[in-house]
Symmetry: C2
């Protein structure tokens, strides 16, 4: 299958200081991004794809650390639903992250890493950075903004705060505000990281020690929320690990990973620490927990969308218990109340929240159709 | 309201070595237990109430560390559904735990704590210990065994493995086997504990350091699973903490507990470390993850119950996503297949899994009715 050939990751420094919701201002912001396809002479074929919590700009190109294919390579490329033969596709690492954009690991003016001196950011701040990037690229108006999970939050925030910047808004497996349960799971992850003595108050850069164990536990807890109960049962059930000598596994009556699901989770936790910065995990989960689009707009979600002429498409998955369909319905009701054109579909997929990243042909059709 | 007056916690040493599923044998097992009410001359009015993961023998008497009322004081006492004016009620700390029964903190024959040398136990081993206690007490046959959550697993295991020891089996908010998702959440907790350097391979007793941070994270993650999403939203929503000066809270743009739900979870985690031993948490979660009553009986759950004349009552809660109603239905189907008399009810309660401990009058009626 043809894959998109991206330019190598590019990064640029935003020309202007970035004002933040906290009241702080971030100078000299670096944005690392990738683009796919060619920008049309009229600059009207651009699609912005904001990424999720642990995503990055490697949308459809191999990850430089893991070597794995881009996280949405099945969706983005020549002839794919987000067709790089037609569209100029932009994906930028969010501020606060760790793949090249300004974040806690970046260097402060004093020559040392920001660490916890990096300002606490919001989803809207991430969007401000993305919009500043669009300004630099000369893109006044997007054909569409398309995002899943935290990417969907950014898509909604862009529509609400920069109502004339996107013609189409596609929000997948997402929510207009983080629930108490969402916050609770993130808080577990943050506490796991900050409980790790190797976290060192965030000042672990260059010490040769980093809070990998805490970050790994945080990832394990979060990973469960990305999958459905039925999906976990289908994939692992109560199956035991094969023993190292190849014989069938069983109860070891010890604390090794006897069950396949234990081994899988441990691997997911450990592998994550190779590619992600613990402080970034703190900052980005905080931004998500702070997200409440209604509260930002006087307490009424419909008012968030009163000013935008964009068309919306909202997609949920029936097994997603992190951002369940009920959240999407609330969003759609608010869009209706704002008289915004919106289509909504709940797709059936067994994989829970992660369905937006996985093989769900119905999602491909929805995305392709909405971008026509 | 009248409350049961228990004898002070009693403990005894089992007269015989306890054979375990691991093949090991545990000598000199201590069982700490409480009883409420009086044993009838014919010894036929006894009810055993096995406790849940972090429960203990303080069923209806104040906890000696926290000073809080017993964990099921609303259910057990004079005139209550488990009526101590009629019944002799027994609750024993499970082996592996830390409230007086033999567990990892207990002293090994070599004079040092067992720590991780304590054998890995199973739910059936806990039941063996409880049955050995009944033998000592001269109780050949229980009027009933009544348990919620892990207590329900023990109730089912008792029926399956000691079919003539109980006339009635009441299993509440429980399952006949731990699911992949159940195992996954427990594994997160275990990894959080073992990642804490103060765990010291389990040999923290007497060192002045214990893995409180890891145990606290484990408890936080587990606690989320005990509550329903709607319950968390109802109780906390996205409400902010009041500030120390009494003014309304809001985003601090820092990593303190801004949201009430964060503060609540942190408190739950911290308070837990005052009363619970981290190694016990490892052992008991392991026992629960190993639990699969069908597998113990040739792979067919109905066969587990083929030999018992007991009557069963199975209760689930509609908002319990830890042991959802579907698990109870599977159990009831197996009991039907075994031609065991069984009644089943799904109760509506907003609190999720923890409903079995909380104010649900319908549960009181079910318990009272079944014990008549």
């Amino acid at each position: 299958m043809a894959t998109a050939r991206p330019l190598p990751t590019t990064s640029l420094q935003l020309p202007d200081p970035l004002p933040l919701d906290s009241g702080q201002v971030l100078d000299g912001v670096t944005i690392a991004y990738e683009t796919y396809g060619a920008l049309a002479p009229d600059c009207r074929n651009a699609i912005l794809v904001p990424h999720a919590l642990t995503g990055d700009q490697h949308l459809a190109s191999p990850h430089p650390i893991t070597g794995k294919p881009g996280w949405w390579v099945r969706m983005v490329g020549p002839g794919k639903p987000i067709d790089t033969d037609r569209f100029f596709v932009i994906c930028a690492n969010v501020i606060g992250s760790c793949m090249g954009s300004s974040g806690p690991a970046a260097t402060h003016a004093d020559g040392r890493p920001f660490a916890m001196r990096f300002p606490v950011i919001t989803i809207r701040d991430m969007v401000r950075a993305n919009v500043a990037l669009l300004d630099v690229l000369g893109i006044d108006r997007l054909h569409a903004v398309v995002g899943g999970s935290m990417g969907g939050m950014q898509a909604l925030s862009l529509a609400a705060n920069f109502p004339d910047r996107a013609d189409r808004v596609l929000a997948i497996a997402t929510t207009a505000r983080h629930s108490a349960q969402n916050i609770a799971f993130h808080e577990v992850g943050r506490q796991a990281i900050m409980a790790d003595p190797d976290w060192q108050g965030g000042n672990y850069y260059g010490t040769g020690r980093s809070p990998d164990k805490g970050l790994s536990v945080a990832r394990m807890a979060a990973h469960i929320t990305y999958l459905s109960e039925a999906g976990l049962t289908g994939k692992f059930g109560r199956r035991f690990q094969e023993r190292p000598d190849g014989t069938a596994g069983g109860r070891s009556f010890g604390f090794d990973a006897d069950f396949q699901v234990e081994s899988y989770l441990r691997y997911q936790g450990l592998a994550f620490t190779d590619r992600f910065d613990a402080n970034s995990y703190l900052y980005i989960t905080r931004a998500m927990d702070y997200f409440d689009l209604a509260e930002e707009h006087g307490g009424r979600l419909a008012d968030a969308f009163a000013g935008t002429p964009a068309r919306f498409c909202v997609v949920s998955f029936d097994t997603d218990w992190l951002y369940p369909t009920s959240e999407s319905r609330s969003l759609v009701q608010a869009l209706n109340a704002a008289a915004a054109p919106v289509s909504f579909v709940e797709l059936s997929a067994p994989h829970g929240h992660d369905s937006f990243l996985l093989d769900v042909p119905a999602l491909d059709r929805v995305v392709k159709g909405f971008l026509e």
